[in-house]
Symmetry: C2
Subunit: 180 residues, 2 copies
């Protein structure tokens, strides 16, 4: 369905390390039609599935910023950044999340949302789901509600979707790459 | 002229260290009208000053991603990320740039632009101009041309604008904060 989007995503073999087939969305987004088609597809999916139910977009640093802000602009919503530790100047909530080895920490401003706001969480790629789960937990700390987590790419072999579903987090992706 | 934008930028005193008045655009962008007015103002300024002369938008990690991609979407152009070292998977050019103490390195994919493309460079804030000058030099390495560097905020006391002008880099900002 989104083959025209998938065709513009470049695969970089063995990056960042041997054995990883890295799905690189920069080739998609530097193309004017690629960027436009991608944002339109993400917005359309959201508006059809959750009509009138999203109040604000949250994007995960850094590629989620690229997608989330253009979506927010198109949908006439505000945009909230979820950032690596130490990058946000105001009062923050923190959340550790699992990486392949060890953990990392993300933060959000405590006053990012108005009470009861419904949030669409955006990132470029769903792999193990660790970052997304951390971002979800972070948004819950503010009192806001996550409507869905949406991605351009799902890597189903890494079972991130299963992890999100297990935690009752609705999610969607425009395309998937299997076999790696 | 852009007082409605300036009024939504929060000042966080003494961040990231004592004596710095940090101008925080997250308060502007989490507001739907703030985000929309900001992107519209940046796009309008570009289209009026350089009509039909910009082919692609480049944004500097990470806040430049938030602005640049929404601008690219509105202008129906592609978006190219300029990233911290080690974040881009393809072949890159690198450029060191000056920080207050020491240097840092930014990178761009070698194939980010088609030959002769004209680039609008976007970041949130112009302080000393070191990062912007580095990004400009990086884009030049690809063979593309920088039409202008544009920002939401200029801090004229830090003389970044003078530095860019000295290097013949056109620039503009929507608002300025003086006295810090």
């Amino acid at each position: 369905m989104n083959d025209h989007i998938k065709a513009k995503i470049r695969t970089v073999p063995h990056w960042p390390k041997k054995g990883i087939m890295f799905r690189d969305i920069t080739s998609l987004l530097q193309d004017a039609k690629g960027l436009r088609d991608t944002i339109k597809a993400l917005v359309k999916r959201c508006q059809e599935t959750y009509p009138g139910q999203v109040d604000v977009i949250a994007g995960i640093e850094a590629r989620g910023f690229i997608l989330g802000s253009a979506m927010a602009y198109e949908m006439n919503l505000g945009f909230v950044p979820i950032r690596k530790k130490g990058k946000l100047p105001g009062e923050t909530y923190s959340q550790d999340y699992e990486l392949e080895y060890g953990t990392d920490t993300i933060e959000i401003h405590k006053d990012s949302f108005k009470p009861g706001q419904k949030v669409l969480l955006v990132d470029d790629l769903l792999a193990t789901g660790g970052t997304c789960l951390g971002a979800y937990q972070l948004i819950k700390k503010t009192g806001a509600e996550v409507v869905e987590a949406c991605f351009i790419v799902d890597l189903p072999d890494l079972k991130g979707g299963e992890k999100l579903t297990k935690h009752n987090i609705p999610w969607s992706a425009l395309v998937e790459f299997e076999g790696e």
